[in-house]
Amino acid sequence: MSHLSTEPRRIALICSKGGLDECYPALIMANAARMSGIEAQIFFTFYGLDVVTEARVDRLHVNMVGNPASPIPPFVAGLPGMELMASSMMRHKLADLDLPTPREMLQILSAAGCRLWGCELAMTMFGRTRADLVPEVDDVITATDFYDKTPGHHIVFV
């Protein structure tokens, strides 16, 4: 709880990817920041917008093709149904570890005072409206708005 600087620490994460495995780094890092007394915000842009989209947040998939860390070889990973299977397996694994789902992570973050933003350009691009997003989203803002809201923050792109 003691920091070298008397200035409160602040972090802003840009979540640009919508994979089940790809959204957790932003969600967990933001939550860990809040638990450590660090101010946190997340800006959901491009496919990251799926994480805060009501119809998508519970159906996020694991991207297996093009992931060199995946234990499954690409020519197998590309077969129909493999992505669903891997996503289901990861969901079960996360549940076994008692890790919150992305939706619950958003609820925890919102309750913890982490600000959640949707990207306006991505909303236009994907044809979504504010009503398509989960209620935890604070607002839909532009990239320049994001910078206005994050003075003195460390900005991390994930």
């Binding site: 709880m1 967990i28 939550n31 860990a32 809040r34 638990m35 450590s36 007394g37 890790l99 919150p100 609820q107 925890i108 919102s110 309750a111 913890a112 005072g113």
Partner: protein, 291 residues
């Protein structure tokens, strides 16, 4: 055999004749004895031949004579190939040669040679190996030790043949291992793994639970800028009970579920990290994990 006829005076003295006759008888008797002797010798020789022939045939069948002939060829070629100077050198170094032979015929060395020969005999069943497979093979403990031994052998060969033939040259790194980590001495086991990195061990808990009192909690709350209320105590009491029963400090999510307090309220009650702040006030270790 007939009596000698060259006697010039056969009739002029009967006594002389008698004498000659006796001599003839003597000669004839000797001759007969000789004939018997020859006969006996023939018998013995025949018996000996009859006895030896099968034995010789047996030897022939076993290839002794062929082998002897071949050995003779070997000796013949050796004599042709080596000069007397060579043989003198051989005599000078016979002790060294015997030492080498003795070393080579030690059971362990022979076992290695035998194993290697086995591999060579089955060489047609071994698949070809590329550079990558060769590199990955070096992960094998046995292959590594073998490589170290081979490099040591190469070094000795290099020393023996290097430069002007001075055998006692200082050992130099073999070109094979240039740019690589130094090779351990031949046949010595690989270096023991480093001692475990103690920096990775979890730091000790910063709060001892046995010295905790409500006054301590009040003091720590004041330190954190918090005035403890009943709402705080619901959380603190539940956390202490949870830690006492499970031995684990609950994280924010767990506190919210267990103490039935919304997460947002926890952040209001204990700003700047409810899990850690509340744990410190409650006198239990700070929660692990990142949720």
């Amino acid at each position: 055999m007939t009596a000698p006829t060259h006697d010039p005076t056969p009739t002029h003295d009967p006594t002389q004749l008698d004498r000659i006759e006796r001599k003839l008888d003597q000669i004839l008797a000797q001759h007969a004895a000789l004939g018997e002797l020859v006969d006996d010798g023939m018998h013995i020789a025949r018996a000996a031949t009859a006895g030896w022939s099968p034995a010789l045939l047996e030897l022939e069948r076993k290839g002794w004579f062929a082998m002897g002939a071949e050995l003779f060829h070997v000796v013949d070629e050796a004599v042709a190939a080596y000069t007397p100077a060579d043989v003198r050198g051989l005599a000078d170094h016979v002790v060294e040669i015997l030492d080498t032979v003795r070393n080579l015929t030690q059971p362990d060395v022979l076992a290695i040679a035998n194993d290697a020969t086995d591999v060579l005999h089955h060489a047609d069943q071994v698949e070809g190996v590329g550079p990558v497979a060769m590199l990955s093979a070096t992960r094998d403990e046995d292959v590594r030790r073998g490589l170290a031994v081979m490099l040591e052998v190469l070094r000795k060969v290099g020393q023996a043949t290097g430069g002007d033939g001075t055998p006692a040259r200082r050992p130099q790194p073999s070109p094979v291992v240039a740019g690589r980590a130094p090779v351990p001495p031949a046949a010595s086991p690989p270096a023991a793994p480093a001692t475990p990195d103690t920096r990775l061990e979890a730091p000790p808990a910063d709060d001892a639970t046995d010295t905790w009192t409500r006054e301590v909690a009040l003091a720590r709350a004041t330190e954190a800028g918090i005035t403890l209320t009943d709402a705080h105590w619901v959380v603190l009491d539940w956390m202490r009970a949870e830690h006492a029963s499970t031995g684990v400090s609950p994280n924010v999510r767990r506190i919210s579920q267990g103490a039935d307090v919304p997460i947002a309220d926890l952040y209001r009650l204990f700003p700047n990290g409810p899990g850690r702040t509340a744990a410190r006030i409650a006198g239990i270790p700070k929660p692990a994990g990142c949720i």
